[in-house]
C-alpha cells in the first residue's frame, strides 16, 4: 500500500454554531451553500480572493498530489545503495577531520545564493568548523561583516554563523555584534581560530576576538571623528 504523502482529507472539526439554522434561510440560501461550499466534496473552503476571477481555478492540491502518487507507485525505481543494520548509530568524527579546519576567505561566487547572512555581506571568512550532534557532524563556522545603514551614523556589524546548524548550541552561534565605532565598511583580511583582523574603508584596522567578542582598534590607523 502506498504510504500517504500528504494529508489527503480536509480536516473537519465540530462547529460551535452547528445547528439547524441554515434551514431557516430557505431553499435558495441552502442551494447557494451547496453550490459554493462544495458540501461533501472535500473542496477547499477558501473564500475567493477579492478581485481575482481565477481565484478558485486551481485544482484541489490534495487531488493533485494524490493523482501523482497514484500514477507513480512507490519503490519501483532502482535499488538503494545502503544496507546498514537497523538501529546502528553514527560514531563521532574524532579527532576533528582536517577538512573541517579550513580557514579561508569566501568569495561572493561561493555565497551569493547561499544563506541570507552571507549573500550580500561585505566580507566573509570560514573560520574552521564546530561540532554538532556530538561531533558526528562538523559544520562550517563563518564570520561576516556588513554595513547597517539603518543607524545614523551607519555602523558596521560583524556576525558569526554556522552553516546547516540544527543543534541549539550551534544555532546559538548565529549572532550579530555591532561595531562600536562608525568606521564604514569592514573587510576581514586575516583570520585564525581565535580572532579575525579587519580594515575599514575609513582606514581603520582592528581585531575582533571570537572568544571574548571584544573589539580592538589599531591606534596607529586613522581614527574617525564622525560618520564616514
Amino acid at each position: 500500500m502506498l504510504p500517504s504523502k500528504v494529508s489527503r482529507g480536509r480536516l473537519r472539526s465540530p462547529h460551535p454554531t452547528a445547528s439547524l439554522l441554515p434551514a431557516a434561510f430557505g431553499f435558495i440560501l441552502i442551494a447557494a451553500v451547496v453550490l459554493f461550499r462544495g458540501i461533501g466534496s472535500g473542496a477547499s473552503s477558501t473564500a475567493a480572493p477579492t478581485g481575482s476571477a481565477d481565484a478558485t481555478a486551481a485544482a484541489d492540491p490534495t487531488d493533485k498530489l494524490a493523482a501523482y502518487e497514484s500514477a507513480h507507485p512507490h519503490g519501483t525505481w532502482g535499488p538503494m545503495l545502503s544496507g546498514m543494520d537497523l538501529g546502528m548509530t553514527a560514531e563521532p568524527l574524532l579527532p576533528e577531520p582536517d577538512w573541517a579546519k579550513t580557514i579561508v576567505m569566501v568569495p561572493r561566487e561561493d555565497r551569493r545564493d547561499g544563506p541570507l547572512q552571507l549573500r550580500d555581506a561585505d566580507s566573509v571568512w570560514q573560520v574552521g568548523s564546530v561540532p554538532e550532534d556530538g561531533a558526528r557532524l562538523w559544520d562550517d563556522f563563518y564570520v561576516w561583516t556588513a554595513l547597517d545603514d539603518s543607524t545614523d551614523p551607519a555602523t558596521s556589524e560583524l556576525g558569526t554563523f554556522v552553516l546547516n546548524a540544527t543543534d541549539p548550541d550551534t544555532l546559538a552561534l548565529d549572532v550579530v555584534y555591532p561595531c562600536p565605532q562608525a568606521i564604514g565598511h569592514l573587510t576581514i583580511v586575516a583570520a585564525t581560530e581565535d580572532s579575525v583582523n579587519f580594515t575599514s574603508d575609513a582606514g581603520v584596522s582592528g581585531t575582533f576576538n571570537l572568544g571574548t567578542h571584544a573589539w580592538t582598534f589599531d591606534l596607529a590607523s586613522p581614527q574617525p571623528t564622525a560618520a564616514p
Partner: protein, 336 residues
C-alpha cells in the same frame, strides 16, 4: 370519456410540484444539517518541529568512517538529518540545495558554489545525493518523509531567451534521475526561484527562463515517474518586476503541472508578497521555507526583520487568514 375540470388538473400539478420541491428541499436540508455539524474546513496547524534543509558543501564528497565502513560524508549528514513533525501525519520535507548549475569548459553540466570555488560534475551530484538518501534511509527506518534535491536559478549571465535554461532543466532531470527513491519516503525536485538581481552587473533572472527550466526538468522518466518541483524561493515579481510577472511566479509555484510551493518566508516583508500571489490566483502552499538567520537588514531593509521558524509559519498563515483563506497552507516548515 369523462373530462376532469381544469382546476383539478391544475391542483394535481401544483401538488406534484410541491412534492418534488419538498423532497428536494429535504435532501438539501439534510445536507445542510450535515454540513453544519461538520463545520467549515479548518486550518492546518503549525508543526511541532521543523525539518532541517541543507546547503551542500564540497566536503560532502569526502570519505568518513561509519562503523568501520567508508561512506561519503553526505551519508553521515543524511543519517543525522532531522525531520519535522506535525499533528496530522503529513510527511515532513527537507531540501538539499546544490546551489546553482553551470557547465565546465567542455560543456558538461555540473554545479558551482559549493565552497571550493570549483565545478562539480553532475555525476558527483548524483553520487552525493544517493549517499545522502542512503543515510536518511538508514537513520530514519520506516519513517515517511520527502527529500528534495534542488538548485537555484541564480545563473548569472544567462539571457532571458537563452536555451541554457531548458538545457539546464534537462541536465537536472537526468541528474536527479540517477538518484534512487528513498525506501520509506519520497523524492522531489526543488528550485530556489528568485530574481537574484545583481546591482553591480544589472543581471536578473527571468520568469520565462524559469518556466523553460521547469518544463524541461519535469518530464516523465522512462518508467513514467514524474517528480514534483518545489519552488522554495522568494516572490521574484516583487523583487524584479521587469523580468518576472506575477503570473510567472504563480506558474512556477503552482500553475505548471508539477509545481508545488514552498514559499521562502525569511523576512517580515515576505508574507504579504506571497499573499499577493495568492490573490492573483489561488494556490496551495505545501510548506514554509525559513532560515535560521539573524540579520539586521533583511534583504537590505531595516524594516524587515527575520523570523523564527514558528514566526515564519504563523506570519504566512495569519496573512492568509486575514484574507479569508484558512486551508491552503500545509503543516510543514523546512528551515535552512
Amino acid at each position: 370519456v369523462s373530462v376532469r375540470p381544469f382546476y383539478l388538473e391544475i391542483a394535481r400539478d401544483v401538488l406534484r410540484s410541491a412534492q418534488v420541491i419538498g423532497a428536494f428541499s429535504a435532501i438539501l436540508l439534510a445536507m445542510s444539517v450535515a454540513h453544519s455539524f461538520a463545520g467549515p474546513a479548518s486550518a492546518y496547524s503549525i508543526p511541532s518541529a521543523p525539518s532541517y534543509s541543507y546547503y551542500v558543501k564540497y566536503t560532502w564528497g569526502n570519505t568518513v568512517s561509519f562503523n568501520g565502513q567508508s561512506v561519503l560524508y553526505a551519508y553521515q549528514v543524511g543519517f543525522q538529518s532531522r525531520f519535522g513533525a506535525n499533528s496530522d501525519g503529513t510527511p515532513p520535507k527537507l531540501i538539499v540545495d546544490f546551489r546553482r548549475q553551470l557547465q565546465n569548459s567542455s560543456g558538461a553540466w555540473g554545479v558551482g558554489g559549493l565552497g571550493s570555488g570549483t565545478y562539480h560534475s553532475d555525476a558527483w551530484v548524483t553520487n552525493v545525493a544517493n549517499a545522502f538518501t542512503a543515510g536518511v534511509n538508514d537513520g530514519h527506518p520506516y519513517q515517511d518523509y520527502w527529500i528534495g534535491y534542488g538548485v537555484s536559478n541564480d545563473d548569472e549571465s544567462w539571457s532571458c531567451g537563452s536555451s541554457l535554461w531548458a538545457s539546464a532543466g534537462t541536465a537536472w532531470h537526468n541528474t536527479v534521475g540517477g538518484v534512487a527513491l528513498p525506501l520509506d519516503g519520497w523524492m522531489f525536485v526543488a528550485n530556489d526561484f528568485e530574481a537574484w538581481h545583481n546591482s553591480s552587473t544589472g543581471w536578473a533572472s527571468c520568469g520565462t527562463g524559469a518556466i523553460n527550466w521547469e518544463n524541461a526538468e519535469a518530464v516523465a522518466y522512462g518508467n513514467g515517474l514524474r517528480l514534483e518541483v518545489a519552488n522554495f524561493g522568494s516572490d521574484a515579481h516583487t523583487e524584479w518586476p521587469a523580468t518576472w510577472s506575477l503570473d510567472q511566479v504563480w506558474q512556477v509555484s503552482w500553475g505548471l503541472s508539477q509545481a508545488i510551493a514552498f514559499p521562502e518566508i525569511y523576512c517580515s516583508g515576505q508574507p504579504p508578497e506571497w499573499v499577493a500571489v495568492y490573490r492573483y490566483k489561488s494556490l496551495f502552499f505545501s510548506a514554509v521555507t525559513d532560515e535560521s538567520a539573524t540579520i539586521t537588514n533583511c534583504y537590505g531593509s531595516s524594516q524587515n526583520h527575520t523570523y523564527s521558524w514558528q514566526g515564519a509559519w504563523n506570519a504566512l498563515n495569519n496573512a492568509l487568514v486575514n484574507i479569508g483563506v484558512t486551508n491552503d497552507l500545509g503543516p510543514i516548515v523546512t528551515i535552512f
